[in-house]
Symmetry: C2
Subunit: 355 residues, 2 copies
């Protein structure tokens, strides 16, 4: 077990923004919630999956909605503990620890604040080690675990509990309800034991997030050899350096969708098109897929190396696009059915970044 | 307590079709469910509110969705008991009797089948004594009771439990979820004690429905004086006799909406326009409101006196339009806020049929 103190939050937040792959909601708001929680309750306990009893009960918490809405409708905080309490009353048993469903975006940090408020530890593991737009897109689903029962709460006191026949149906129902509740709600889902999580989760994703955040900070400080150390740790590569020349955005069916086109600095005949569905999902260079889901597309400001979220994309921005391989926890039969290009409606084959 | 046997079903079903005011779903499908239940479990117990202990626990059950969908997506039956079981597990206490939320349309009969399946009596009372398109449009809401917790179930095994800050928000959330689940789902709602129901419900609505059904059957058989006896019991009047000359229908935002225009047989300058939102809601003769909610508009085939549901309306149909006053249980402060013309978006004053 280790303690997360205020001074460790900076690099965790930066890592979360990077792993949000442009989406997952702006972690800055969630960081304020965690700071408040640490001030109120002291440093937060972070535990590994091997440090808890196998029978201990876990649940994930997350904000669900569209990032473009979440930045304008800031979570009040109490709805997350409300969602967990609704789940507890539905399960008929207490939650021993909170786990992030995605380490990437604001949902990396919210579980920390909720764990502190509930007085339980937060588990260093998750179901994505990146952000994905849909609830069923987890290594938990891949391992056959149910997202149900799950509960949705808003800041006004409305609560909805779901028990669904599949995680795909669950996603559809939660999304529909979130649209009715204003598209920025608290979800408690994937109740599971530690034994189940040991099999299904990506281990150590908080630690990974914190380390990659620290290495990116070194890049931003232009420390000697920092780019090499960063890419080496992430096992990734620079895919494209260029300028945004086209941008199309729309919020439809509960998601922030869009397309961004980038032109190479030196060679205008080279363009990279990135498809967005809350996150940066698919990168196509001159018709050829170069980064495909579940691998990560991260976009940085070319000068400052600050990660760019999809809602702050702008025409004329100078950017660096990175490709990072997905966590090893994804490498199971059925991965492409859940998070491959076709799962997002793209008629493209998966091209692994790492063979 | 009385027993509902198979031979009493015919006039109850006819009464339910009439009180459905063109909506509420076709009771014929629900009648088949009740026949099956009586065959399986024997005659169904119907009890008055004064025959149960004040502390006994009631809940209402209903199909929720659009009538135009329900006739094509027939309920399988098991989802209703599922919805009640989900509510029971949420409440943490058993249900002692089932009550209809609306006596009008198929939701008059479904509670009987569910009561038989669960082995509890069905209460002779409801929250409307007609059909209305929205969950919060009940004398229960008027008396300050909450529709929550309530639970929605589909035929596949999906269940959703709602706890909302108002019945209006509950309607919005249930409607949204029902749209995702295919718009024909089972709802268990308005858990209340018998003491609460005694204050809030319309008493004896099943009995009223059965009697008015019997009197309408007599009209259909062209028995001597049957029209007078029918209108006298219903306290209603014939509003219009004519031919449908225009019909506009659309299923939007979870409702079957539309407008039907009828021309007087003798005088083509007299037309009656009726606005539909699942039910026949507002009747306007040459610009003047003649029947306004919560009073009932019932449309009969002019020749056979068979009630016409909104989904079977057709151009050229010859119809008789009746106006019936709403149940006395509606006469409380706040009625027009919940079920007056403005509650349906009509900019028209309430014109009571009965002064």
């Amino acid at each position: 077990m280790r303690k997360l103190a205020l001074d460790a939050l900076d690099q965790l937040t930066l890592g979360a923004t990077l792993l949000g792959t442009g989406g997952g909601g702006d972690p800055f708001i969630a960081k304020l919630m965690v700071e408040q929680a640490i001030n109120d309750h002291g440093p937060i306990d972070i535990v590994g999956l091997d440090e808890l009893p196998a029978a201990a009960q876990l649940a994930t918490v997350a904000v669900v909605g569209a990032p473009t809405v979440i930045i304008e409708k800031i979570p009040s905080g109490s709805e997350f503990a409300d969602a967990v309490r609704a789940l507890v009353s539905y399960l008929g048993r207490d939650i021993d620890a909170i786990m992030p469903v995605e380490v990437g975006g604001m949902n990396t940090l919210i579980p920390l604040a909720v764990a502190a408020e509930l007085g339980v530890p937060c588990v260093d593991a998750d179901g994505m080690r990146r952000a994905f737009p849909q609830i069923e897109m987890t290594t938990f689903t891949l391992a056959g675990l149910s997202a149900s029962p799950m509960s949705l709460a808003d800041e006004k006191g409305n609560r909805i509990a779901f028990e669904t026949v599949s995680n795909q149906v669950g996603e559809k129902l939660v999304r529909g309800s979130a649209m009715m509740l204003g598209l920025a709600n608290a979800l408690a889902a994937y109740p599971m034991t530690v034994a189940e999580a040991r099999d299904a989760a990506v281990w150590g994703s908080m630690q990974f997030c914190s380390e990659i955040g620290g290495l990116l900070r070194a890049v931003q400080r232009q420390e000697e050899g920092s780019w090499d150390r960063f890419l080496d740790f992430a096992d990734g590569r620079v895919v494209f350096d260029g300028k945004i020349i086209d941008l199309d955005r729309r919020t439809t069916t509960g998601f922030a969708r869009g397309t961004v086109t980038i032109e190479d600095f030196a060679d205008p005949s080279r363009t990279l098109r990135i498809e967005i569905q809350n996150e940066l999902l698919l990168a196509i260079e001159n018709g050829r897929p170069v980064v495909t889901p579940p691998d990560l597309i991260c976009m940085l400001d070319f000068e400052t190396a600050e990660p760019i979220t999809t809602e702050s994309l702008a025409y004329g921005q100078r950017v660096r696009v990175l490709g990072l391989p997905c966590a090893d926890g994804w490498k199971r039969d059925g991965m492409l059915d859940i998070v491959g290009p076709a799962a997002f409606g793209y008629d493209v084959d998966y091209v692994p970044l790492k063979g």
